[in-house]
Amino acid sequence: MTLLRVEDVDKSYGDEEVLNGVSFEMDRGDVDVLVGPSGSGKSTMLRCINRLTEVDDGDIWLNETHVTAPDADVNALRQEVGMVFQDFNLFAHLTALENVTLGLKRVLGMDAAEANERAADHLRQVGLAEQSDSYPAELSGGQQQRVGIARALAMEPKLMLFDEPTSALDPELVGEVVSVMRDLAERGTTMLVVSHEMGFVRSAADDVHFLDGGRVVESGPPEQLFQRPEHDRTEEFLAGLQSRAPE
Amino acid sequence: MLQTGDWTFVLNNLDYLLSGAAVTVGLTVTSLLLGLLVGFPAGAIEVYGDGVGKRLVSLAGVVLRGTPIVVIMLVLFFVVSISKSAFVTATVGLGLRSAAYQSQIFRGALQSVDDGQMEAARSIGMSRLGGIRHVVVPQALRRSMPGFQNEFTIVLKDTSIAFAIGLAELLTRGYDLFTQSGRSTAVLEVFLVISAIYFVLTFTTNRGLDWLSEYYAIPSGENT
C-alpha cells in the first residue's frame, strides 16, 4: 500500500535547478535510501516532504493527504512526518526527556504524566533510559542523535525522514546510531534516509534512489544498484562510496 | 497641544538651539578625547598591569561606572570644584566616566586578540612592549570600534545632563525657551525639535562611524 508518492517535483533556487522532475513511491514499512553527490538535492527532497521547503511544481502525497496543496495543514502534516537532522538540532535548553515531551505536550496536547511516560518509552527504545535528565551538551554525538530519533518517533509519525544522521558523528559513534536505525527498520517503521553508510544501506534498505543534479538517475534494491547498475554515473559514484567504507 | 504659534516661536529661535547643539557637539568631542586619553592606558593597565596600579585603576572604574553621571558632575562642580567653567567641569565628568567605560571596551578588545599573535611577535624577536604596540594594539583598536561607537552616542546624549550644572548646551537652551514668560505652551514643540536635533546627531555620527569602521576594516573581517 503506497504511503508516500512523490510526483515530478521541481525546485529551483534562483537559477539553480535543485530538483528536476523527481518521482518515486514508498509503501508502508519500506526503508528507502537516497544517495548522491553533494549538492544533488537530497536534503531538499526530504525538506519538501515535510514542507520545510516549498516545491515549485509537482505533487507529494502522504496517504490521502495532498502535502503540496497550498491549504494543507503543515503543522498536522509534520506530526505525520518525523525528521532527524544531520547535526541533531536538539533543543539546547531542554533535557533529553524534555526534548521528547515538548512536542507531545505542546503539539499533541498530552498532559505531563502521559507525555513523560511515552517519552521514557521512546528513550528506552533508543537505549537512553539512563540519560533522560541530561542536557544535550552533556551527551555524546551518538547519544544526541538517538535523542533526536526518539523525539521524532514519539510523535508516532507515519514516515521518518533521516538526513545524513551519522555524518556529523565521530567514526566510533556511528555504530550506535546505525544500530538503532536498523532496529527501527526491522520493526516496520517506514523510513526515508539520506545516508552513505554502506553497512546500513546494504542491510536495511528496500530501495535505493540515486540522485544526481536534481534527477533520480536510477532506483532499485541495493544489490541490483550495487552489482549491476544501469548507468555509468551510478556505478562510478557507488564505487567511490564502497571503497570509502570498507567494513 | 501643538500650536502654530509655538512652532513659529521655536523655529524663530532655531539658531539659538543650534548654537546649543554646537556646545553639545563640542562637549561630546572633548569628553570622548579625554575618555580616550585616560581610558586607553587604563584598559592596558587592567590587562597588562599588576599590583597596586591595577587595583587602583579598577577601583576608580567601578566607582565611575557605578555612580550616576549627574552625581559625578555635581561632585566635580560643587564639591571638588575643579573649575569655574561648567564646560570644563562637564568635560572632566563625562570624560572620566567615559574613560571608565572605554577602558573596559579596550580591555575586552585587547583580551580578545589571540595569544598566538603575541607569541608570533615574540618569536621574531620583538620585545613584549613592541608586540603590544605593533601587533596587539592595532588589532584591538579595530575591534573596539563597535564599542566605541556605542560610547559615542551615550556621551552625546549624556551631555544633556550638563543641564544640571547650568551649561548652555542643547537641552538647557530648549529649557530656556519654554521657561520664557508666556512660552510654556511651547514645551512639546521645543522638545520635539531638540529631540530631532539629538536624533540627527546620533544617527549621522553612527552612520559616519559605520563608514569609518568599514573603511578601516581588515578585509574579510576577523570574525572567524
Binding site: - | 560643587f78 570644584s81 569655574k84 567653567s85 550644572i165 547650568g166 548652555a168 519654554f178 521657561t179 514645551v187
Partner: protein, 248 residues
Amino acid sequence: MGDGGSGNGDGGGGNGSAGTEQAPSITAGTAPGFPPFEMKEGGELVGFDIDLFEAVVSETEYRFDGWSEFEFDSLIPALTNNNIDAIAAGMTINEKRDQTIDFTDPYYSSDQAIVVREDGDFSPGSLSDLADRPVGAQKGTTGEGVVQDELVGDEISENQYNAYDNYVLAIQDLQNGNVDAVVIDVPVAETFAKNRPVEIAFVYETGEKFGFGVRTDDDELTSALNSGLSAVRESGRYEELTQKWFGE
C-alpha cells in the same frame, strides 16, 4: 557658547578673591525663569535683577564680566566654589543662607503669594485651607521654605509637595492641574497672574527682603556693592527700574 548671558565658558576671567589687582572683574550668577526679576527673552537674559545689578556694579570699581546661569538651588554652591562672585537672583536674605554666604543690603522686599488656577474651583484664604492639597514651589526658594515649614507634616504629606527646578514649570503644572496651589514671591506671582490663567488667592506675609549674595570672605565686594546700591537709589535709576519692571 558665545551667546548672551551664559558666560560660563569665558574661563580665566576675574577670580574675585584675588583682590589685589586694580579693578578686578566679577561674574554674577542668576537663575532665569523668575519674571520679572530674571528671565530669558529671545535668548537674552533680562529682568529687574539683571538691570539693577549691572547698574550697581557700574557704580563700583569692579569690572562686570557677565552672567552665569544656574538652577536657583545651585547658586549658593556655585558662589562658595568661586564659580561666580555674586548672586543676583531675587534671593531672600534668611538666617540659614546668611550662615553660608553674606548678603548686601536689601534691595527689594516681598511676601509670598499663594497662586491658584483662575477657574475659581479652589480659592483658599489661609495656609490651613491648603490641607491635603498638592502644593508646588521652586526648589531652594523661600516659597519652598514656607511649604516645608508651615505645611509639610501638618497640613500636607511630603508626597503632596512638588518641588520644581523652576517657577515656570510650577505654574505650568498648576495649570495642568497637578498641583492646586503654588507658593511664590509676590512680584513674580503678579507677572504670572497677568499673562497666565492663574490668580493670587492670598498673600502670606513673610516680610522677606532680597539681597545680592556675596562670599563671606569677600567683604570688599560686599561694601562696594552696598555703596553702589545707595548710589543707584540716589541717582533715581532705582525708581526707573522698578517702574520699568513692576510698573503698569
